[in-house]
């Protein structure tokens, strides 16, 4: 279903896809998420998150050309959709609003 809220790991995965930019497939997304979060991220979790994000309409995938190595396979690349970007910005605004409120109380 499109347009649902983002889970914590989904947000992490979506941000990683955004950060990787072009040629974002499962491997660089998993490495970035692991590096950024500082914790171990399994491939199964990344694949599941990418799949869910695509079903929700936050990501769009396409199968690219085979890699130039001998026996190279075709990879599935992901890009963030406009809906995904809007959702990320909204989540960021919510977090910043809450932090401003916390800092104002203190």
């Amino acid at each position: 279903m499109k347009g649902e809220h983002l889970g914590e790991f989904e947000e992490l995965t979506l941000l990683a896809v955004c950060a990787v930019g072009r040629d974002a497939y499962a491997v660089p997304v998993q490495e970035y998420a692991e590096r950024a979060s500082g914790r171990s991220v399994s491939m199964g979790a990344v694949c599941a998150a990418l799949d869910r994000l695509e079903r929700k309409g936050f990501l769009q995938s396409s199968v690219g050309e085979p890699t130039r190595q001998p026996g190279g396979k075709r990879k599935r690349f992901y890009i963030v959709t406009p809906l995904g970007m809007r959702t990320l910005r909204e989540v960021r605004r919510v977090r910043e609003r809450i932090w401003r409120a916390i800092q104002a109380e203190r």
């Binding site: 497939y25 499962a26 491997v27 998993q30 490495e31 171990s40 399994s42 491939m43 199964g44 979790a45 694949c47 599941a48 799949d51 695509e54 079903r55 309409g57 769009q60 995938s61 396409s62 199968v63 396979k73 075709r74 990879k75 599935r76």
Partner: protein
């Protein structure tokens, strides 16, 4: 010395292999291997192996979606790959592929061209609305007044005067009529200095286009008001004539054209595909009433001119034989009652719901009987009225047989082309057994192999189909000219022809690909990988099939040769057919007189022409004949014996005294009791 590549741990590979991943397997395996190699490089083999197993286990918690929102439809990517591969493979052998496509394209072009001719001549209707409700109303054995006096019995057509009676009296159906034989008229546009050309025109009733439901391309349709005495002379153009003769002039409606030196205003251009009641459409249609009015006006003008010419001839001190004959003809013409304009016409009616053809037949029969008794027709000769659907009238049993025969020949031609393509693809498949065997070994399914081979054959068939269709656009008019088909028939393809061309193309491609696809999908991997070696299993199978295909091609070619030989034999027999006269060194001349020539001027012309032809060196005899043999026209005459026995009808002709000598027709008995030349020519039409 390079180190061997590191392999992921067996446990991880086992976990991955056991997990059903469907279409995601390849990319997941590739991603895990890439991660394993990077971690091995960065963090060591043990860490990489451990993470590999964790990742493989984590995939068991992932439920891949059954249908991912792809950017492309399922199967399209595969089909696109097949087409790309096929194009690359054909590009490696351009000459043989080009020859194959050319051969199949020629067969498809011939088939498409013949189908276009057949469609235009027989299958496509006359371009009328709801042809099932249109009926032809014919009458037989009704005495019809002739233009030059007397009567002749109808054999289907009505006299135009009788149609006027029908039009007023018949109430059950709306009627329309058209002159049965198109007239030749001279045509020119209003431009000064343009040379006249001769075209065909058909006089019709004012209700003709409305009853037939003809659609208008430009202008407005003819109405019964256009058919009234005193109405403006108007004309309706056929789409073919507007295209070929007037270059599709968009301003033609309202312009003036000249027919037989009389101005007509163009009011309508009929829709493409409308051809009236004849297989070949005329150039234009004119209302009955206009022709009758013009005929009357010409009679008045002729009478005045005849009077002046008689006076001039009488002032001559001495007359030559030609002048005397001319004077006699003019005097006879002035003393005879002027004939009314009348032509044999074809009558049609549109029978609506609630009215039966029997009702119409009964109503029209009663009118025909009344006309017969009015003309004093004997009671033993009862006019017969027939009401038959037009849709069935055109497609006769003979035409069905000819159509079926032609389609069979087309099918045979396309079969020969397809066999050629199948042979090529089979040879190709045999040479690709190693490739196919490798693909099978890598996990390709039989269906995938079949799809690839069928895609290749369909691609060849499509290329040949496009080339054949383009070739047919040139071939069709060339064939039409070769067969002397009427020039104004529209041979443009319609939906039926497109469907035929696409169907033939797809069938040709599929048929050509079945044999190599059936052979190529064989699952004998060992035989496939051993292909080309002596004694390899399965090496003989494609050879047998190719032999069968070559044999089929030879059989088809021989059959076509036999058909061609039989046809040539029929043509030879037709040329040696006993004609009943001697055609050796026999020449015929016909002159298309325009409306400016009345019967007396024509008479004078022929008298002078006959004398001059006799004087030409080498001419042994010359004669005039109204209806030359094999000219396609005939006339019937009522005949009764001197004892007043039952009347019968015979074919008659009008000839001069030298006719039998000129044609080499032996007279078996009696003197050549023909009328004097001047008397026979006086009855000349």
């Amino acid at each position: 010395m390079s180190r061997p590549p590191l392999r992921p741990p067996l446990l991880g590979r086992l976990l991955l292999w056991l997990r059903p991943l469907g279409e995601h397997r390849c990319e997941v395996e590739d991603d895990l291997r890439e991660l394993f190699e990077r971690r091995s490089r960065d963090c060591g083999h043990r860490y990489a192996s451990w993470r590999y197993c964790v990742d493989a286990m984590s995939l068991w918690r992932w439920a891949p979606s059954a249908s991912r929102p792809h950017l492309e439809w399922p199967g399209v990517a595969g089909m696109r790959d097949d087409v790309t591969f096929a194009v690359r493979m054909f590009a490696r052998q351009p000459v043989s592929v080009g020859i194959t496509i050319a051969g199949l394209a020629l067969a498809i072009a011939l088939g498409t061209a013949i189908s276009r001719l057949l469609n235009a001549m027989a299958l496509r209707g006359p371009g009328v609305a709801d042809p099932a409700s249109l009926y032809s109303i014919t009458v037989h054995n009704l005495d019809m007044p002739r233009l030059t006096g007397g009567t002749s019995a109808t054999s289907g057509n009505w006299a135009s005067q009788d149609y006027e009676v029908l039009g007023r009296a018949v109430t059950s159906v709306p009627l329309a009529a058209a002159v049965s034989v198109p007239e030749r008229v001279s045509f020119r546009r209003a431009d000064a200095g343009q040379r006249d050309e001769f075209i065909t025109a058909v006089p019709v009733s004012g209700s003709f286009f409305r009853v037939l439901g003809a659609r208008t391309s430009l202008g407005r349709t003819l109405t019964p008001e256009n058919d009234q005495p005193g109405a403006t002379a108007v004309v309706c153009l056929s789409h073919s004539f507007w295209t070929t003769g007037l270059a599709q002039d968009p301003d033609v409606v309202g312009s003036t054209i000249w027919l037989d030196d009389h101005p007509y205003t163009v009011v309508e251009v009929l829709d493409r595909g409308f051809r009236g009641l004849d297989p070949s459409p005329p150039a234009l249609w004119v209302p009955f009433g206009i022709q009758a009015e013009l005929w009357k006006a010409r009679q008045v003008a002729r009478a005045a001119a005849a009077g002046a010419e008689i006076a001039a001839l009488r002032r001559q001190p001495a007359l030559t034989p030609v002048q005397r004959a001319r004077l006699d003809a003019l005097q006879s013409e002035l003393t005879s009652p002027p004939p009314r304009w009348g032509q044999p016409v074809t009558v049609v009616g549109r029978i609506e719901d609630g009215v039966s053809s029997q009702q119409v037949q009964a109503e029209v029969s009663s009118i025909a009987h009344a006309l017969a008794s009015e003309r004093g027709q004997p009671g033993d000769r009862v006019p017969t009225v027939l009401v038959t659907p037009i849709a069935s009238a055109g497609f006769s049993p003979e035409l069905r047989v000819a159509t079926a025969t032609t389609m069979a020949v087309i099918a045979l031609l396309v079969f020969l082309g397809c066999s050629n393509v199948a042979n090529l693809l089979l040879a190709n498949a045999a040479g690709r057994r190693r490739e196919i065997g490798t693909r099978l070994a890598l996990g390709a399914s039989h269906g995938r192999i079949v799809r690839q081979l069928l895609t290749e054959s369909l691609l060849l068939g499509s290329a040949a189909g496009v080339a054949g269709f383009v070739l047919a656009t040139w071939l069709t008019p060339a064939l039409a000219r070769l067969l002397h088909l009427p020039p104004l028939i529209d041979f443009a393809p319609d939906l039926r022809v497109y469907v035929f061309a696409v169907g033939v193309t797809l069938l040709a491609g599929a048929f050509a690909g079945i044999a190599p696809a059936r052979y190529g999908r064989c699952g004998d991997l060992l035989g496939a990988l051993q292909a080309g070696r002596m004694g390899a299993p399965g090496a003989l199978a494609p050879m047998r099939l190719r032999t069968v295909l070559v044999g089929a091609q030879a059989a088809g070619s021989i059959l076509l040769l036999v058909l061609a030989a039989l046809f040539a034999r029929s043509v030879v027999q037709a040329t040696s057919f006993e004609l009943g006269f001697d055609p050796d060194r026999l020449l015929t001349v016909s002159v298309p007189f325009s409306r400016g020539y009345d019967s007396s001027r024509m008479l004078t012309y022929w008298e002078v022409a006959l004398d001059r032809v006799r004087d030409v060196p080498g001419v042994s005899s010359a004669a005039l004949v109204a209806l030359p043999p094999f000219g396609g026209a005939h006339a019937r005459q009522a005949l009764t014996t001197s004892e007043g026995a039952a009347r019968q009808y015979v074919l008659r002709n009008e000839v001069t005294a030298e006719y039998f000598e000129a044609f080499g027709i032996p007279v078996l008995r009696g003197a050549r009791s023909l009328r004097r030349r001047s008397e026979s020519m006086r009855r000349w039409r």
